[in-house]
């Protein structure tokens, strides 16, 4: 470990290092409309791919006739599963060790599954041709409910898998059953909850797509792709398609939002690549919004049962969780191999549990595959939601204030590093400080009065708290991988002779502001102004290997790598500075941007002087240049946390509810650029609100996807989205070079429970303890009527 931790040097506004809210470097091209997203790329001779998808959720394919489509002028080729099978490409591995059909050969297993690809001279012609393809299906029984899927005698969905006799895709557990049973035996009270975290979709405004350009002469494969993880994609493409990896270049251009949707490999990518290989021309595939929503990267869909054992005084003794996940037709989550349900076992949350036991069962159903970490670190959203809902219900059952119950059971600051009963080692935290700050801001002490006054106007007011802890920033590589590739990340820093620098990383931003924040990290470490540092990501030919951007891992891994390599270059700079100043290295003090001879403030050299000397006047025996690369394998995850408090009001007449206040107090450690941190939190809060209130994908009993467009899949607009109030505490991460923890997902993880708890709180006097998300007015109304009926 070459890492040394410590507070970064304070820099001037001109240098713009850590802590400065400098304006984003990437914005200039975006405000000019000069972002270059995938679909903005046009290659000479480029053809267009469209995919015919199954209208049925479960059916045997009897016959596929593409002859009419092939005869349509402008159509170049039709690609079927059978044709791909001849090249060994009809099936592909998923990022969680399963297999997925690229184009269906035997049967279709979800509505929207890819069946035939048409390659044509224009997208319009490709779409026309889809209408001319005749596929005959023999319908099979459809299974929509994952619990029904796991029952004996359920129709077998994955009959393609040797030895698969039922619809179970995994069983996994964490914690210890025996000690948890003992804890429950000693309990005064056991409180339980059953709740469904509904299927959701990240739905970034740019859909997924690629352009595969395989040069038939040189064998060079250039693949432009909306990918959050271009290096991993390159390796997996080498493995899937058998292409030599040295000939594959994956370019992930500007990305119009990712949120986990752009981590997996999708069939369209593989079909486009195969088509380009076979035809010898570039092939572009860009999915429509409907294709995006019905076939790529859904998230959540966890049916959760949890029990909490407590003493009458509120002391938490143990937690039991039994969860069924609906994984759709293919287990296509992107999870580390060791953890079948991602990091869901962090569900003990912010509390000091002596014992916990978590059992997870995954089911295949006739729904789209996915299970992506939608703006969260491997299923942490579900975990945080579950424990925060359960704790509030426990407070009602015990007659203890929900805030007080949390405070009583929080892991205390002196308990860190804290070993959780399910195997995490929490690094740092001061949970009560964040909670008290949120309570103060929301005016918690005055809520009872607010409720009373609202009642006079026919409004039911409720307050909901969520005191969440995340585990983000995977690796360490000993525990975390994607499809076997270890989770570390990297940074390459080149300081040019004129003192300007370029920083290249293995991560890939999708709006997070890396081009600015990474530059600020280097600015703090080396004193080169952030304005003089260009950040590059996304092109595998020109960046060092890394696992990409998701799971709030970029700052914890690539950001750390950037700090470490900058420190290494600073140490090299010290040698050169000593040479220039004719002083000993030990006699030099470092001030941001310059080395100064101790006791002689007029004798100094700037980092820019040193950079020039590194190429023109370096000491004998020193390697020339000022460049380096560092691969950072984090010693642990990071553990951002926060406390959110929402106050909502329900209209008694209609069940309609709205947010009165939403206060979010976050602790993500050291904030690199406070403006960008706040922007991340705003976005996360909006998505948390979306999931709480309106955004979900469901299916009718025949397996039709309800939520296949933005009319049915509701995303809040500026009109529905509430205003957010932010607060912060800062507990630096003890093992990260600059003390940062990651923040991109905190609010999505933490906020849904606050909103739902607030609605439940408003209805709690009538005995309501659960409404599944999304908490629509209709569901609230139903709960109110149920409570009245008693």
């Amino acid at each position: 470990m070459t890492t040394t931790t410590g507070a970064p040097s304070a820099t001037t506004a001109e240098i713009g290092g850590i802590g400065h809210s400098i304006k984003r470097k990437e914005d200039d091209r975006f405000i000019h409309g000069q972002g270059r997203y995938l679909d903005d790329h046009v290659l000479p001779g480029m053809l267009h791919l469209a995919l015919l998808r199954s209208p049925l959720p479960h059916a045997r394919i009897v016959k596929i006739d593409t002859s009419e489509a092939e005869a349509l002028p402008g159509v170049v080729a039709c690609v079927t599963g059978e044709a791909l099978a001849a090249h060994g490409l009809a099936w592909m591995p998923t990022l969680s060790g399963d297999t997925q059909a690229v184009l269906a050969t035997d049967k279709v297993r979800f509505q929207g599954q890819e069946v035939v690809g048409v390659v044509a001279e224009s997208p319009y012609v490709a779409w026309d041709a889809l209408e001319l393809i005749d596929v005959e299906y023999d319908a099979l029984p459809t299974i929509i409910d994952p619990k029904a899927a796991l029952e004996d005698g359920a129709a077998l969905i994955r009959d393609d898998k040797e030895g698969q006799t039922d619809n179970s895709c995994y069983q996994w557990e964490a914690g210890d059953k025996a000690t948890t049973d003992q804890a429950f035996a000693a309990a005064d009270k056991v409180v339980s909850i059953d709740t469904h975290y509904p299927r959701s979709h990240p739905a970034p405004l740019e859909t997924c797509g690629c352009i595969a350009d395989l040069d038939p002469v040189t064998g060079q494969a250039t693949i432009y792709m909306t990918s959050q993880a271009p290096h991993a994609i390159r390796t997996l493409f080498a493995m899937v398609a058998g292409l030599p990896e040295e000939n594959i270049r994956v370019i992930s251009p500007d990305i119009g939002g990712g949120f986990g949707n752009k981590v997996p490999i999708y069939p369209g990518y593989v079909v486009a690549t195969a088509a380009s290989l076979l035809i010898g021309k570039p092939v572009k595939w860009v999915e429509t919004r409907t294709e995006n929503l019905i076939s790529t990267g859904f998230a959540r869909d966890y049916h959760m049962h949890a029990e909490l054992a407590l003493k009458n005084d509120g002391q938490m003794l143990g937690l039991k969780v039994d969860m069924v996940s609906d994984n759709g037709a293919f287990y296509a989550d992107a999870q580390p191999s060791k953890f079948k349900a991602g990091l869901f076992h962090v569900c003990t949350g912010s509390y000091n549990f002596p014992a916990a036991h978590v059992v997870t069962k995954g089911a295949y159903t006739n729904k789209a595959p996915g299970g992506v970490a939608y703006r969260c670190s491997f299923r942490i959203t579900e975990a945080a939601y579950l424990i925060e809902r359960l704790v509030q219900n426990a407070a009602y059952e015990l007659g203890i204030d929900p805030a007080e119950l949390r405070t009583k059971n929080f892991i205390r600051p002196d308990q860190f590093p804290y070993h959780s009963p399910t195997g995490f080692v929490y690094d740092s935290g001061d949970y009560d400080a964040a909670l008290q700050k949120a309570l103060d801001a929301i005016g918690y002490a005055g809520i009872a009065k607010e409720k009373e006054e609202a009642r006079k106007e026919g409004k039911l007011v409720g307050v909901g708290i969520s005191s969440f802890t995340e585990a983000v920033g995977a690796g360490p590589s000993k525990d975390y991988d994607i499809a076997g590739i270890k989770m570390f990340d990297s940074a390459e820093l080149r300081v040019h002779p004129t003192g300007k620098a370029i920083l290249k990383l293995g991560s890939r931003h999708q709006g997070q502001g890396h081009e600015t924040t990474y530059a600020q990290i280097v600015a703090s470490e080396l004193g080169i102004p952030a304005a003089d540092i260009t950040v590059r990501e996304g092109d595998t030919d020109n960046t060092p290997y890394g696992l990409g951007t998701y799971g709030s891992r970029s700052t914890p891994t690539s950001g750390a790598a950037a700090a470490v390599i900058a420190r290494q270059l600073r140490e090299k700079s010290r040698k050169i500075a000593a040479h220039l100043l004719e002083a000993s290295e030990d006699d030099l003090d470092w001030e941001p941007g310059k080395f100064v001879v101790k006791g002689a403030p007029d004798r100094s050299v700037t980092i820019q002087d040193v950079a020039l000397a590194a190429y023109t006047n370096y000491p004998d025996g020193t390697e020339p240049g000022l460049e380096g690369v560092h691969y950072y394998d984090p010693p642990n995850l990071t553990y951002p946390f926060g406390s959110y408090a929402a106050v909502i009001e329900i209209d008694e007449e209609t069940g309609q509810w709205k947010t009165r206040r939403m206060v979010a107090v976050d602790d993500c450690g050291v904030r690199i650029n406070p403006m960008i941190v706040e922007g991340q939190l705003h976005g996360g809060l909006a998505e948390g609100f979306a999931m709480s209130s309106m955004q979900f994908i469901t299916f009718d009993e025949d397996g039709n996807c309800i939520g296949s467009n933005f009319t049915d899949y509701l995303i809040p607009t500026s009109w529905e989205t509430p205003r957010f109030e932010l607060g912060e505490t800062v507990t630096p991460c003890p093992h990260h070079p600059i003390g940062a923890k990651g923040v991109g997902e905190s609010a999505t993880v933490g906020s849904p429970a606050a909103w739902v708890n607030a609605v439940i709180d408003a209805l709690a006097p009538t005995g309501v303890r659960n409404i599944d998300m999304p908490v629509t007015p209709a569901r609230v109304w139903e709960a109110m009527q149920g409570a009245k009926a008693g």
Partner: protein, 157 residues
């Protein structure tokens, strides 16, 4: 069919299939890729342009319907080498993250300020409600438009 349009002050005439959407005409025929496609069912608004000064979703119109009309896209915001105040405001107020909805948001903001030079937050939020953003929670988009309203029209670095 022949279609003649003025886009960002420049005249263009082209022969297009009647079914070609205006957004595809702008992006593919004219190469103006700052106008994006997010849903092609008029649900997201990232394809918004100004048609004779009024925001419209260019995926919900055929190119031929724009015949004889004047269009403004994001590429036309900068005038005489000067950024529009909306462009400046979005950067200053961190009103964008991934940038995909940004061209549309800026055009909607511009059209709003032309009708209503000093809108309050409610008015801005209502005006933006046809345009989705997944990154910002709209907070800083609203802030950017409010800030732009305080700046002199047209003039900026």
């Amino acid at each position: 069919m022949e279609v003649s349009v003025t886009v960002n002050g420049a005249d263009h005439t082209a022969d297009v299939e009647p079914r070609v959407l205006l957004v595809d005409f702008l992006r593919t025929t004219l190469g103006l890729t700052g106008t994006h496609i997010g849903c092609d069912t008029s649900g997201c608004g990232v394809c918004t342009i100004l048609l004779d000064g009024t925001p419209v979703k260019s995926c919900a119109m055929f190119a031929v319907q724009a015949d004889g009309r004047s269009l403004t896209t994001v590429e036309g915001l900068k005038q005489n080498g000067q950024l529009d105040r909306m462009q400046v405001a979005f950067k200053e107020m961190h009103g964008l993250q991934c940038g995909f909805c940004t061209p549309a948001m800026m055009l909607v903001g511009k059209a709003l300020l032309e009708r209503n030079p000093a809108p309050d937050e409610e008015e801005i939020r209502w005006e933006l409600s046809g345009n989705l953003c997944r990154c910002t929670g709209y907070m800083n988009i609203v802030k950017a438009i409010r800030y732009a309203a305080t700046q002199p029209e047209g003039a900026s670095a």
